[in-house]
């Protein structure tokens, strides 16, 4: 969505709140402040010299393997051999591009790239070149070669970077080496970053005797939230923890009382007892009435759990700053760093590196500013990579949410639907907007990220969806799919319950409420590949067997349906044995990698239902590692069958869609196996034990 459209749909009040000044917008990384590119802009991504092409990737590569797909489009359009096109990751010396968020890379970048490459091909055929700024007249999409061929009849080329990955070549920010490099860390108080804290005293003498000690730096970059840090630098990374222990920093922590019970704070029923929730997604005229389905669904906090803790290398040369970063938005970082260090933007270059997983979590500028501040202080290049504990305690997380979903049935159809939710922020977070604006957005707009997925895809006679936001002392923000995963888990389990109460098959019941032909198709297809109708409830010995189904539309553009088979043992331990997923994201350029994205989203679905928790105590995260905040492991992984719809519809994203149906398919399978409709996620096996 363009900024203009954004303002339009969210109401004029925002214009008044934000003003029209550009300055504030530069501080808002997660807002879509930059327009989608056109062919003209795309001409800057591709260059040609001596029969070789360089494609400067206009996106950040973080595992969606967009590098491969965009290179395929370029090669097809240029008529160039695979090896004739070299792909480079961009730095901030190129024309600004949008943040890599929201599964937009194919949706908004494929066609402009194809147009620019086609124009270059034509120019070269005519013995010309495309000069900077020269007008490119986009041709009808049907004339673009890459939009004509089917991706289904050919194999994917070898992944770009694949060979480097399997041979261990440097690709990620932490792999960068610079002469004279030293290692830094910024220590922060063991408190919520919403509470003001700063270092008070520390034992510098003890630190001095640690081998490898290089220095303590007080001017160590911006606070994270309200937590001001203390920087340390060492000549070897392993010395950093020893120095931290030796310093034994005493912190001054504001006595402001932390939120002790976040679960109660967001309890949806508590809020509903006080009246209706303030933000409206669907405005069905509902009167309180007898509900046939009345379901409470609560989800905990969840960390991103990406395997790469964020990292950066920063180096100052003659007052100019260069930063190698694994960020979803190099330009936002460039602007942030220039602003923080008081240097012109032109003196800061941020080089994007391949990211070891981001999932919405690597947008704000944190580790990059820490590295830059320490590098300036010690006048050496500095590498900072957060510890796993820092990732868990200092980054933002998926907010917990509490849902009440109600439905009324008439003649086997849902006649009224009501989804109420209390959660926290995903887009209008303290990382994205200043404090004074937060109260404004809370009042006027809510948070479209938290609301994503509350708009139902079903044809209900009347439907209402409302939500409320609570500011929490644990920072929350964008997580894969934003609010869509949790909202759809709540809605699709309620829909399943409705089918049961109506005495109908869950697949048929859904079909009866769907008018969108593409949603119908994915649902019918997944039913047929999973042999839905041929299956029945059964037990195998003492093991309980169940299957579940769910479907959804992501961001109104991409379609998915999932079936999950599970077995439970006496202790309530769940084994997911098979998942089938039918997916329609319009035209596909690399079928194998779209499938990989589906597999990834099903993995996240498994995590959401089985393990994604994050312990919080006294208003702050108390997790230290993966054992506290687990991600799925191989033994929890079922066989997966991914079925893509071959389509010539407009191509859109695939990076988040299957998270609309995966979690509920598993939860519904648990219901069918046990008769228990779980209301808290992740599931507790003991609540499902025999």
């Amino acid at each position: 969505m363009k900024r203009r459209t954004f303002l339009k749909v969210t109401g004029g009040s925002l214009v008044a709140l934000f003003g029209t000044g550009a300055a504030i917008w530069s501080q808002m990384p997660v807002l879509p402040t930059r327009p989608a590119p056109d062919a003209q802009a795309a001409a800057g991504w591709i260059s040609h010299k001596d029969g070789k092409y360089i494609l400067t990737l206009p996106r950040i590569e973080m595992g969606q393997n967009i590098t491969t797909s965009l290179k395929q489009i370029a090669c097809t359009e240029l008529g160039a051999a695979w090896n004739a096109v070299e792909v480079k990751l961009h730095n901030t010396s190129m024309q600004k591009v949008r943040s890599t968020v929201g599964s937009e890379s194919i949706q908004y970048f494929a066609e402009p790239l194809a147009q620019a490459c086609a124009a270059l091909r034509d120019a070269l055929t005519n013995g010309k070149t495309v000069r900077d700024g020269e007008r490119i007249d986009p041709r009808p999409v049907g004339e673009l070669k890459s939009f004509q061929r089917s991706a289904f009849d050919r194999q994917s080329p070898e992944l770009v970077h694949g060979r480097e990955i399997v041979t261990g070549k440097p690709l990620y920010a932490a792999d960068i080496h610079r002469p004279g490099l030293v290692y830094g860390r910024v220590l922060r108080a063991p408190s919520s970053s919403e509470v003001t804290s700063k270092p008070k005293s520390w034992n510098i003498n003890a630190a001095h005797v640690v081998p490898g000690f290089f220095g303590v730096i007080e001017d160590c970059g911006p606070a994270i939230g309200k937590a001001t840090g203390l920087g340390i630098v060492a000549s070897r990374p392993g010395a950093l923890s020893l120095i931290a222990d030796a310093l034994d920093v005493e912190w001054e922590i504001d006595t402001h009382s932390p939120q002790s019970d976040i679960q109660t704070l967001i309890n949806v029923d508590r809020h509903l007892n006080n009246g209706s929730l303030p933000h409206t997604v669907l405005e069905g005229p509902l009167q309180d009435s007898d509900w046939d389905i009345n379901l409470r669904v609560d989800l905990s906090f969840a960390s991103h759990g990406q395997i790469e803790p964020r990292a950066a290398v920063a180096e100052w040369i003659d007052g100019q700053l260069k930063v190698w970063a694994g960020t979803q938005d190099a330009f936002f970082h460039r602007d942030f760093l220039a602003d923080h260090f008081g240097v012109p933007k032109g003196d800061v270059t941020v080089q994007s590196c391949r990211i070891g997983g981001a999932f919405g979590g690597k947008v704000p500028c944190s580790v990059e500013a820490e590295a830059a501040a320490l590098a300036r202080a010690v006048q050496r290049p500095v590498k900072v990579q957060w510890t796993r504990e820092q990732e868990l305690t200092q980054a933002y997380h998926r907010p917990p949410s509490s849902h009440r979903v109600k439905a009324r049935l008439d003649n086997g159809r849902v006649s009224a639907w009501d989804h109420q939710q209390v959660s926290s922020h995903v887009i209008f977070t303290p990382f994205a907007i200043p404090k004074w604006l937060q109260s404004g957005t809370d009042l006027a707009v809510g948070d479209p990220g938290t609301a994503r997925g509350m708009e139902t895809a079903y044809q209900f006679a009347r439907s209402r969806a409302q939500y409320q936001l609570e500011r929490l002392s644990v920072h929350t923000g964008a997580w894969r799919g934003l609010g869509a995963g949790p909202n759809m888990l709540a809605a699709e389990t309620a829909m399943d319950e409705a089918a049961r109460i109506a005495g109908m098959d869950p697949l048929d019941f859904r079909l009866a409420h769907i008018s969108d032909p593409r949603l119908k198709t994915v649902l019918e297809r997944v039913g047929s590949i999973a042999n839905w109708r041929g299956s029945a409830q059964r037990t195998m010995g003492r093991k309980r067997f169940g299957r579940g189904i769910a479907c959804g539309i992501y961001k109104q553009v991409s379609y998915v349906a999932t079936v999950a088979d599970i077995i439970l043992d006496d202790d309530g331990e769940i084994t997911i044995t098979h998942m089938w997923c039918t997916h329609d994201c319009g035209r596909v350029f690399n079928a194998d990698q779209v499938k990989a994205q589906c597999e990834g989203n099903l993995a996240w679905s498994i995590g959401m239902v089985l393990c994604a928790g994050l312990p919080v105590k006294d208003g702050r995260v108390v997790a230290e590692g993966f054992s506290d905040s687990p991600v799925p492991i191989m033994s929890q992984f079922p066989e997966m069958t991914i079925d893509l719809i071959e389509s010539s519809e407009k191509p859109v994203g695939a990076g988040e869609t299957a998270l609309m149906s995966g979690p509920a398919a598993i939860a519904n399978a648990v219901r069918s196996a046990t008769g228990i409709r779980a209301s808290r996620f992740p599931l507790e096996p003991k609540e499902l034990a025999l």
């Binding site: 399997v166 261990g168 070897r236 990406q306 395997i307 391949r354 099903l602 993966f626 991600v631 191989m634």
Partner: protein, 152 residues
């Protein structure tokens, strides 16, 4: 103090002796294939093979490998010829973000050297300590089976 790294003998300088092997490999030797994921032995991103066994280099000190033979992902290929596990990884297009994959590959290599024809359960048992947040497990399993077949 010395050790063998990818077939070559190297000394372990005194100042690096207490450092985690992972940092020693990455920052002193410039072998950045093994990754820092947790530093606590929980994720497997740092896996290397020490005397034939897949080990977590983040919780092994440099001094611990004195007189041992350490193999990292950089030592797998024979110049341009990839190790069968590496080839299988490319053929199955396993990596998404790729960050966990060096560790996955080293665990897979150690498994296949010990058990050239692993069952599904053998694969799960050997790989369960290697986390992949992107969810590439199905492809990892297939790649291991493919590599096992290729070497059979």
């Amino acid at each position: 103090m010395s050790f063998v790294l990818n077939g070559e003998k190297h000394s372990i300088p005194a100042e690096w002796a207490d450092e985690p092997l992972l940092h020693f490999l990455r920052e002193h030797h410039g072998l950045v294939g093994a990754k820092f994921g947790c530093g606590r032995g929980e994720c497997g991103a740092c896996t290397v093979i020490i005397d034939g066994v897949a080990m977590r280099s983040c919780i092994t000190s440099a001094a611990d490998v004195e007189d041992s033979e350490v193999r990292t992902i950089e030592g797998l290929a024979d110049r341009e010829t990839l190790h069968p596990v590496q080839s299988a990884w490319l053929e199955e297009a396993v990596p998404q973000c790729g960050y966990c994959q060096a560790g996955q590959i080293m665990s897979a290599v150690a498994l296949l050297e010990e058990n050239p024809a692993p069952s599904d359960d053998d694969i799960t048992a050997a790989m369960d300590g290697n986390l992949c947040r992107c969810g590439t497990y199905q492809r990892i399993r297939k790649a291991i089976q493919r590599a096992a077949e290729a070497s059979a």
